[in-house]
Amino acid sequence: MVMEIVCPAGTPAALRTAVQAGAHTIYCGFADETNARNFPGLNFSREEMAEGVAFAHAHGAKVLVAINTFPRAGAETLWHAAVADAEAAGADAVILADLGLLAHAARHHPGLRRHLSVQAAAANADAINFYGREFGVRRVVLPRVLSVSEIAAINAETGVETEVFVFGGLCVMAEGRCSLSSWATGESPNMNGVCSPASHVKYREEGGALSSTLGGFTINRVAAGKPAPYPTLCKGVFRAGTAEGHLFEDPVSLDAAALMPALRDAGVTALKIEGRQRSRAYVGQVVRAFRAAVDALEAGREVPSGLLTRLTEGGATTTGAYKKTWR
């Protein structure tokens, strides 16, 4: 079975680009705090979502709507409306993280396919099977902390489809539980849909060096000519004892193209590309490259990799936890 390429779209233009570049499936979200990429100028109105779904379907592609933040107590109606509106728009599935929202969707929208967001951080077969059994979840997006052999072991113990990230930003935290952004800014991807919100980010260039501050904290300073990282705390530079460096995470991007044969053999159903906050230039290049890679894999040809470095954070890539060379 051909592995499905699941591609990001932050705008209707990016959705059309992804479809034309060969995406099997596109994921996107509404322009509010119900999705984890609630960035200025990004995302879809209800009308744009319906038009985007119609465009994708007309070209044989599917659309998944990410409603993957955690509803605030007393404001559930915003998230409930998002699920209803996704179904009305003709979405092929919704991507959810919150237990209450999953229960709501299963009860009130039983015909709408449910995927489990990476924000739910379901990283073992028992957790995944619980979501499958209780809420009819059909697919889980696995956290970016598992090795290929661990993914194979999970697939051997669950009938729920698995989707894994293969390219883009690399989050190695317990997703949906990370408090770094909210510690510095009061806002988090989990509750507000935005990690390190732009409204709390400042850049300053002095003598060619670039300083990044988040919520008033200087989190990085890079010398002239050196690549700039995203302004997230997890990629900040910290001092611990006499050591100074990226203690949580290096500013690099995930590129698991070379592992696609192993991921297929591990029973993975779908390959996810990160980057709803990126431009249609990124979407077009990355989707086209990965669609070609999947087709090469199916045809028994070698899968090329490492060809998208210019688009990566730090100008560098990693296979992340899929190959845990530090063990």
Binding site: T17, P40, G41, A198, A257, S279, A281, R288, L311
Partner: protein, 181 residues
Amino acid sequence: MPQDTAPTIPRVPPALAAALGLLPRTPVALALERTVRRIAVAHPGLIRRLGPHDRARFVLDPTDLPFVICLEPNGGDVRVGVCGRPGQGTTRIAGPLAALLGLVHGAYDGDALFFSRDLVIEGDTAAALALRNAVDDAEIDLSGEIARLSGPFAGPVRRLAGVAERMTGVSLSRPEEIGAW
């Protein structure tokens, strides 16, 4: 898999930059304002996507030219100025002219330009992000817009832009639609 062959971003030659610096700024600003107003009318989503930033003052700073462009969406009543110095603005977006034009046309990715330090943002980061995302969704074709404003000279303007694009490597128009997979 296609090659990642994005070329090094071209710079405006200093002699040309100096010559452009001699252009009278008021007529240039008026021509730019007329073009941007037309684009805003043709792409209403552009202003809508700016949301709370639609009254910001964006300083667009082509670092290889001796002037900056001040863009004020002003809730749809767009104003454009051309100034010698960056001056006060809500946010400043700076980079080579080719990088800024490439962003408008969807030839370059804004995050990648930021990672490589070809793009600098100062001031209100949220406003800069809103503008970038709004422009990316609008699928603007600057050569096409200028050609439409050129009346009987539309054809020659388009051809001239095409030649200039091929000679300089600078994205002057929206790339051709990619064929369906």
